[in-house]
Each structure stands twice: as C-alpha cells, then as structure tokens.
C-alpha cells in the first residue's frame, strides 16, 4: 500500500489546521491527484470506523473503580498519600483470581484500606470490586485459613457479594452488633455495607445497597443452607 503521508497535501490535512487558502489548494490538488484522493478517502473511512468503536463505559465499571479506590486508599476526608498500592494481580477479574488475590491480601497481614483490618473484610470488599460471577468459588479468606465460598448476585440494581462458611465470621473493628445472642453485626467500609449472620448458617454479605435493605436480604440468604 502506497504511503502518501509525506505528501505536503496530506501533511496539511492530517495537521488539521488549514486556512481558506490552504484548503483551496488542497481541493485543487485532490481533484487532480488520484493517489492523494484515494489516500484522503481511506483515511476518512478508517477514522470513522475507529470512532464508531467509542462507547460509554458500563455503569458497573464506574462503580467498580470507585469501590476499588475506596477499598485501597486512605479513609474519606483525610488528604494523605496512599502508602502502597496493591499489586494489580490482586484486582484481576475472574473468580479464581479474586480468590487468589484475597488470599494474598490476607497473607500481607492487613489491608491497604485500614491498618489492622481483618483480611476477610478486605477480601469481600475486593471481591465486590471484581467482575461478578454467579457461581460460588472456594476461597481462603484469612490467615486462619477459614474455609469459605464467595459468589456475586444482584439485588436492587447493585452487586451483592455473598460469602458462606462453615465457621462464624469474626466481627471486625468498628462493626455494630445487632444482637448479643447470635453475634450478627453490621460494618461500613466507605460506601460498602457488610452484614453478617452467623446463625443458622454463617453468611457475610457486602454491597452498596442501604443497610435497611441489605440486612433483610442477608437474613433471607442466611436462613437457607446453600
């Protein structure tokens, strides 16, 4: 394919800054030069085809970026630089990779979101930011090797991460216990609400859904053995 990019006419065209005189000269040349006419035509067609691939980012991706930022950065309101970034592999999509990343975060002995944060919480919040999958995936959520499975569903228009385990989920710092007998609790991490019921079956759910909706949902999900 002949390359006419060095032709002065095309150089003017691609530069994008033609005045009336240059435009008139360009048009005269194109009428007389088949090669340049073809080059301009193909350039335009290729540009239009490529521009047709522009698209609005999915709304879920916007939420994901916000959630990941809040999960990995300093708390809202404090204007300090982040100490360290989480390796991108910990944020990769896919259930298996999310589980590996969760384990990696757990083994680091703490999250980037909050010093001393329980790895379970980081894992669930991180999972919320990953690509959703409806299929439960086994995961080791913290340094005590708590067995659990995580899946993602949708409710009220938002993603909900559901973690189930044969053993109770420990209450993290800042969580609010709902009762004293069965040890369910509610915690907040940025925009994410976490709700835990350990009776009858340990379940931990996380979402940006308001607590007044998430708590009944968690109770319903926890009432049924998976």
């Amino acid at each position: 394919m002949a390359d006419n990019a060095s032709h002065p006419v095309l150089a003017t065209l691609l530069d994008g800054g033609t005045d009336d005189r240059e435009r008139a000269e360009l048009e005269r040349h194109l009428l007389a030069c088949d090669a340049c006419w073809e080059a301009v035509r193909d350039d335009r067609r290729g540009r239009l085809a490529a521009e047709d691939l522009r698209e609005t980012a999915p709304a879920a991706l916007r939420d994901r970026v916000v959630l990941v930022t809040e999960a990995c950065g300093p708390s809202r309101g404090r204007s300090r630089r982040p100490r360290r970034r989480i390796a991108p592999v910990a944020m990769c999509a896919g259930a298996a990779l999310a589980a590996v990343g969760a384990l990696s975060l757990g083994q680091q002995g703490g999250s980037q979101a909050r010093s001393g944060e329980k790895p379970t919480i980081v894992s669930v919040v991180t999972r919320l930011a990953s690509s959703p999958t409806a299929h439960p995936v086994p995961a080791l959520l913290n340094e005590t090797k708590q067995q659990a499975s995580m899946s993602t569903t949708r409710s009220y228009g938002s993603s909900v991460v559901v973690a189930r385990s044969p053993t109770p989920f420990a209450m993290p710092a800042g969580a609010v216990p709902m009762t004293s007998a069965t040890s369910p609790w509610v915690a907040r991490r940025g925009r994410v609400t976490l709700v835990c019921f350990n009776v009858p079956h340990p379940i931990l759910v996380a979402s940006v859904i308001p607590p007044d909706r998430l708590i009944p949902l968690a109770r319903q999900l926890g009432a049924h053995r998976p």
Partner: protein, 177 residues
C-alpha cells in the same frame, strides 16, 4: 449517576479522573480482546494512576491516564497475544424494548468486524489509531505519551486508518463510504 466528591484524597482523585473513564474504557477495548479483560485493564489503570496522582497534579488528565493504560496493556496483555475482540460487551440488561432489533444486531456485527480489523493492524498503527480515534487524544498528546515525534504519530495514524479501511473493504463493509 456520578457520585458527589468532596474533601480528601480519594475524592480529589475520583473527581479528576472519573470524567475520563469513557475515554480510558474505549482505549482499553481497543487493546484487549474481551470485555472482562478490558474492565481489568481499566481498573489496573486507575490503581496505578491513584498511586501517582499526588505527583501528577490536575493537568493533562486524559492523556496521562491514556499513557498509563497503554503501558499496562503493553506489559500485561500483549503477552497474551493480540486477537480480535470476541464480544461487544453489551449486556442483555442494556437492551431497550422498543429498539429496532435488526438495526441493533447489524450495528453489533459491523462493530465486531471493525474491532477484528483493528486487531490486524501492526502494533504501532493500532496504538496510534486507538489513542487518537477512540481515545480522542491529539497527535501531540500521543506523541508525548509515546516519546516519538508528532509527525511519526500522524504517519502511523494515517497508515493505520488506511489499512483499516482496506481490511473492511475486503469484508464488504462500507464505513463512511
């Protein structure tokens, strides 16, 4: 709906960078083969941007994010091989009940063909076309991002567009004809 940001570092970062999410998404889609990988690429881009945001300041956000996306794509995803996109990433939930289904289906096919043709371009041309025509960057911004002369970028864009048009010609698609 765009969240309202105010106050701390996170909020400043999101306020400065989220307006460019569509451009970054388009660039990511131009570099990787499927929606899931593109979403990961965007996320990795924003994570790396978050790390450097304090040093970047508020200027040239779009070209800065595009540069990060380009470098992440080169390092992490080129190793997987360049293949045509396998899906258009439009979820069923996006379907509008009263939309012309035939027109929508046709548009999807054409876009898929363009994406496949884009993947056939040489890397330099593809990157230039993606950044300029999909990402909306100027030739000067791309030249700075790639550390090459502006004229080189113009040449790569032109060659890439022409090759793209020729590939689509062979497939019988008439974009812009």
């Amino acid at each position: 709906m765009m969240p309202i940001f105010e106050g701390g570092f996170n909020e400043q970062f999101l306020a400065a960078t989220l307006p460019h999410l569509d451009a970054v998404w388009g660039i990511a889609r131009g570099f990787v083969r499927d929606q899931s990988s593109a979403e990961d690429l965007v996320q990795d881009t924003y994570l790396l941007a978050y790390r450097s945001f304090a040093d970047q300041g508020s200027g040239q956000m779009r070209s800065w994010l595009a540069t990060i996306c380009l470098n992440v794509a080169r390092s992490q995803y080129r190793a997987n091989g360049r293949r045509p996109r396998e899906d258009l990433g439009i979820e069923m939930g996006d379907f509008v009940a009263d939309h012309d289904a035939a027109a929508l289906a046709l548009a999807r096919v054409e876009r898929s063909a363009v994406a496949a043709a884009l993947a056939e371009l040489p890397d330099e041309q593809r990157e230039a076309v993606v950044l300029v025509d999909i990402g909306g960057l100027s030739a000067r911004e791309v030249a700075e991002a790639m550390s090459v002369p502006r004229g080189t970028i113009l040449s790569r864009v032109h060659r890439g567009r022409r090759r793209l048009a020729r590939i689509l010609d062979r497939q019988g698609l008439d974009h812009g004809r």
